[in-house]
């Protein structure tokens, strides 16, 4: 059975249900419980649900130390950029300790951070910076694009014995979707084929999945059948599903809100170019944000970001119906 929930509530439901099932799950972060009536505080008490000062590095470090002792902390960071404040903990400490200790300790933490908002939140609150975490050994990265996956991936992230950065897209916050009741797990490292088609593979991340699906409808009206893939997690990355699709279609367009060189798209493109070259009948096309900080003014935001028209254009390029441009 399922019920309709907005994306953001699906995430909260996952955390709540896991905290009910497993008393080692903790939840902390700035402003996470602003009154005594907060549902998490009411349900689990102030030992397990802790409001922190603005101290990302200490918050995450404490989560790591508590994880060594057998707890499973979820840290609410709100914005991907705020996580950058704590990069020593996120990159040098959390993901490396299991390895450097020769397997003696585990770090089952979840770092929850929103990204990609735009909407005039400007240069330091809108970045799609998941690319920089993809290559960190020991770190996993979840990137749900639907409400159901938001719940399923959060559950999987909490249960994972490794540190997981859980990126939720701010523009999906109120997107409603059917969310399974009760226990629901979406494994990390499994992509989802959202639309089947034989003419071109479109891999689209997060909020851009919706744009890609709309672009696919527009293309279908022109007789072009796109297969749309949602990676769902970036580390581990399900390259097998993408390669299988490209083997069928021969053409790949990757849609990513990141800037080009920092993008997951660049990593996916490298994997397909290196492992699936013989399947390709056209160059791989990346539809990314322009290489600039997200500007404040609305027309500039729209200019810089991927959209349906740019996706359609890219597909037409790889199909040879339009010149392959910049």
């Amino acid at each position: 059975m399922a019920h309709e929930l907005p994306y953001i509530a699906a995430i909260a439901e996952a955390i709540h249900e896991e905290m009910e099932r497993d008393e080692t799950v903790l939840y902390f972060g700035q402003n996470i419980a602003t009154s005594e009536n907060d549902p998490f505080l009411q349900a689990f008490g102030s030992d397990r649900v802790r409001v922190t000062p603005i101290s990302e590095t200490a918050e995450i470090g404490i989560a790591v130390g508590a994880a060594f002792a057998g707890y499973r902390p979820v840290v609410e960071l709100y914005m991907a950029e705020f996580m950058l404040v704590a990069m020593d903990q996120v990159v040098n400490e959390a993901p490396r300790f299991h390895y450097m200790s020769g397997g003696q300790v585990k770090v089952p933490i979840v770092l929850k951070a929103g990204y990609g908002f735009t909407c005039g939140w400007a240069g330091q609150h809108t970045g799609s910076i998941y690319g920089m975490f993809m290559g960190v050994p020991g770190l996993k990265v979840a990137l749900p694009a639907t409400a159901a996956d938001a719940k399923g991936l959060m559950t999987a992230s909490i249960r994972d014995d490794n540190p997981v950065v859980f990126f939720h897209h701010y523009l999906l916050t109120l997107e409603h979707g059917e969310v399974p009741d009760g226990e629901y797990v979406v494994q990390l490292g499994e992509a989802a084929v959202r639309r089947e088609g034989g003419d071109v593979t479109i891999v689209a991340l997060g909020w851009l999945l919706g744009k890609a699906l709309k672009a696919a409808e527009q293309l279908a009206a022109e007789g072009i059948n796109a297969e749309v893939i949602d990676p769902r997690s970036l580390a581990p990355l399900d390259t097998a599903t993408i390669l299988e699709s490209v083997a069928k279609t021969g053409r790949l367009v990757i849609v990513d809100q990141s800037t080009r060189h920092g993008s997951a798209a660049a990593v996916i493109a490298a994997e397909v170019a290196s492992e699936g070259f013989s399947s390709l009948r056209a160059p791989i096309k990346l539809v990314c944000a322009l290489d600039a900080t997200i500007p404040y003014s609305e027309p500039m935001e729209a200019y810089l970001l991927p959209d349906e028209a740019k996706i359609v254009d890219a597909v037409q390029q790889v199909l040879g119906f339009a010149p392959v441009g910049v």
Partner: protein, 307 residues
Amino acid sequence: MWRIRAFEERVGELTRADEVYGLVHLSIGQEGVAAGVCGQLRADDAVYSNHRAHGHVIAKGAPIERVLAELMGRENGLCRGLGGSMHLVDAEHGFMGATGVVGGNVPLALGSALASRLLGSDAVAVVFFGDGAVQGGIFVESVNLAALWRLPAILVCENNGFAEFTPRSAHTNVERVGDVVAPWGLARETVDGNDVVAVHEAFGRFLAGARRGDGPMLLECLTHRLRGHYEGDPARYREALAAEEWQERDPILRLQRRGAVEGWFDGRVPGRLEHEARTEVEEAVRLARESPFPPPSLVSELVYAGL
């Protein structure tokens, strides 16, 4: 102290002979702090240290041959050769981690302290750091949270007057590390870190308080790092301590002199302790040399826990 001294001196030799690989930071001269603190802790008290961790891990109970095997990159090392000098972990004895980025260990210790509280245990967390760590944001941020949440954490600062290659005066206007944490009201004391009896006594009081739930505390131990920041550091940035002056300050010699004066250390004991320590270390060298290197394929096996 004798065991740590023998170990560190031997590691210095092995580093120069390229049998101990890479970047190594010795704690010769600072043994009084490790011994005075760790000797009083239980296995379930979590200890964290920094890049200069050999003394702490040994004092916390790690078998010397496994520490040495780790420094020599062997399969039998504490971390199977994956961590090395700056990332020693001996979870069985409660040495939860040495870290190589200054200050990174402080919030980790608070996490262990929090876990202890949540479990209803009176176990404490202890974190060793140098005077150089105190100016970092993470230190102050951690002190704030430790005080706010009243965590059972004891912060032990080995103030040897140098942060890597520059003296404390080049880093801050605040001379005493204890003064840095004053606004948060932590119980704090400054002791002579080279007087192992004084360290033992002060830390013992702090430990009892921390177990009682008195909240976080800071023990500043004034000490001296006899060697350079790392093995190989030419240390041109400071004047070498004259041999006579070091004789006055050496924690081992000071304990011996005190023991002799007070009558509880008969003349043959220091020699015997030193001999036993060196024998133990030589045996560790032999065992480490015989231990195989881990299979290279190990690099891919422990990237993730679980599947």
